[in-house]
Symmetry: C2
Subunit: 303 residues, 2 copies
């Protein structure tokens, strides 16, 4: 990445906000605090408003500062898009798609789709951040991700959904588990075994809680974790049962000793898996392409 003179000031201010102090930010930018301070002061004078509240321990953005930060981050993202568009014009179809997704998708879905996408578009590379529910939306807001994928997200004013796919719950268990042979699997069957549940930070737990609340059955929870990988590895070694939403369960991957079966209770609702972008934002071309691929893959899998 080149020096990028034009958005220097934007990077400066953003750094101050992210580090919470001029000194830390200056260190991160490899300049002295005084230089950074002057840039900030000039800017504040130019805008006629303070962008940060000065505290003894550091700086916190004012309302005006928040506005400026949003603008700055948008500028940066937008300039990257411009750069990509121009490169595209030159015939080299290169670029980066950055995605924030909650954990459920990390395993089978993403690697497969990305692999397939890169076969068609070899010049495009990916930045995938797996993070917790709320951080996905925040990453979109901060222009750190082009696309966000979350399960059961609550609608919000500055995020616009591009695709919603209802997701049923799957039971995850060892490949040689007694239940693995059944043609139809009901929740009540699962409850005869110890359970390994995703914790509240993961989507899908909500669905389970709702079911347990309305049901008279009492589950025997032996493990609770915020890591699906953990849960999967756990159930492989014993007769416990875990749960995961459809796309995350990776229906066909039996080779690692774990299998997933759809649960047929209709008492168990479904929640949508949502592909979203920041409202009003112009996405870079590669991101739009990839969104289309996701759309195809997810809508195909939904049936």
């Amino acid at each position: 990445m080149s020096a990028l003179q034009y958005l220097r000031i934007f990077n400066y201010i953003d750094a101050i906000a992210r580090h919470g102090s001029i000194r830390k930010a200056a260190e991160g930018l490899f300049i002295t605090p005084s230089a950074l301070d002057r840039r900030l002061q000039d800017l504040e004078e130019d805008l006629g408003a303070e962008l940060f509240e000065r505290h003894a321990r550091g700086m916190r953005p004012t309302a005006a500062g928040e506005l400026f930060l949003k603008h700055a981050r948008e500028q940066r993202a937008d300039f990257e898009r411009l750069r990509g568009d121009i490169a595209h014009l030159r015939g080299l179809h290169r670029g980066t798609v950055s995605i924030a997704a909650s954990q459920a998708l990390a395993f089978s879905l993403f690697p497969d789709i990305i692999t397939r996408f890169r076969q068609k578009n070899p010049g495009i590379d990916f930045k995938v951040r797996i993070c917790d529910h709320n951080s996905v939306v925040q990453a979109l807001r901060d222009f750190e991700a082009d696309l966000g994928i979350v399960y059961n997200v609550q609608p919000s004013a500055d995020v616009s959904p591009m695709l919603e796919v209802e997701q049923r719950l799957c039971a995850v268990m060892a490949a040689d588990h007694p239940l693995a042979q059944q043609a139809q699997l009901r929740m009540r069957d699962c409850l005869r075994y110890p359970l390994a549940l995703p914790d509240a930070s993961l989507g899908g737990r909500m669905l389970l809680d709702a079911f347990f609340a309305r049901s008279s059955l009492s589950p025997q929870v032996v493990l609770e974790s915020n890591s699906f990988e953990m849960l999967r590895n756990f159930v492989r070694g014993n007769d416990a049962v875990s749960f995961q939403i459809q796309v995350g369960a990776a229906l066909a991957r039996v080779q690692d000793g774990v299998t997933a079966l759809q649960i047929d209770d209709r008492g168990l609702g479904t929640r949508p898996l949502t592909l979203a972008q920041l409202k009003g934002r112009h996405l870079p071309l590669p991101a739009m392409r990839f969104a289309q691929s996701l759309r195809d893959a997810l809508e195909g899998a939904g049936e």
Copy 2:
């Protein structure tokens, strides 16, 4: 307006594009051609693409250049909006609304609405550019206007309409014209008098042409002009009749010796007057407010 360090480069490139040559642009920017040239070269190197084709007589933007120009103009407009939003935060509700409109609205509608709007929002001032049909859309595209108002505009992909009001045609004539007394006015009555018609560059002419094409009546056109003011002043002094769309006709202004009457032919179609903005653009707050005012005024007048 302050020095605006950050978008200097954007202004530079925009100036080159507008003036068509580095030397002219440099003159307009009060710098030397060499300085401007170096800035351009640095930028081109940074982006890895030429932004202008070098001709012996000057510079013309390449495809990449067009992309950059759009970005640059958008940046400038966006930064102005940011500045306005921050000022708004400080309590001073000030700002500028820039509008491009075709001629029909220049007379009664705009002055009245703006006056009323400024009574409620004294800090907001206006930049109204009256221009020809196509320039309105172009002004939106170049981020030179926040809002555009055109009669009978053809839909286009990068413009999004915010409001459409069907407009009938009115006949404009001297206040003491024989026709001015009639309760109901039909086209056939008007054709008994000499006509002063708006030319093809003005909206409304199309409606007339369509009517004449289908009608057996032959009009006696004594004056054709691209200026409504011209037409109005002309009919005041004799028995000629001119035409204008509803909002432009300023129904109640008899004091200047001219009156306007709605025409009751149903053979004469209606076309929409459209309030529009550039698609996907974030409008400054004052512009949004004013758009709302226009909406109220035009929808009220439409009934």
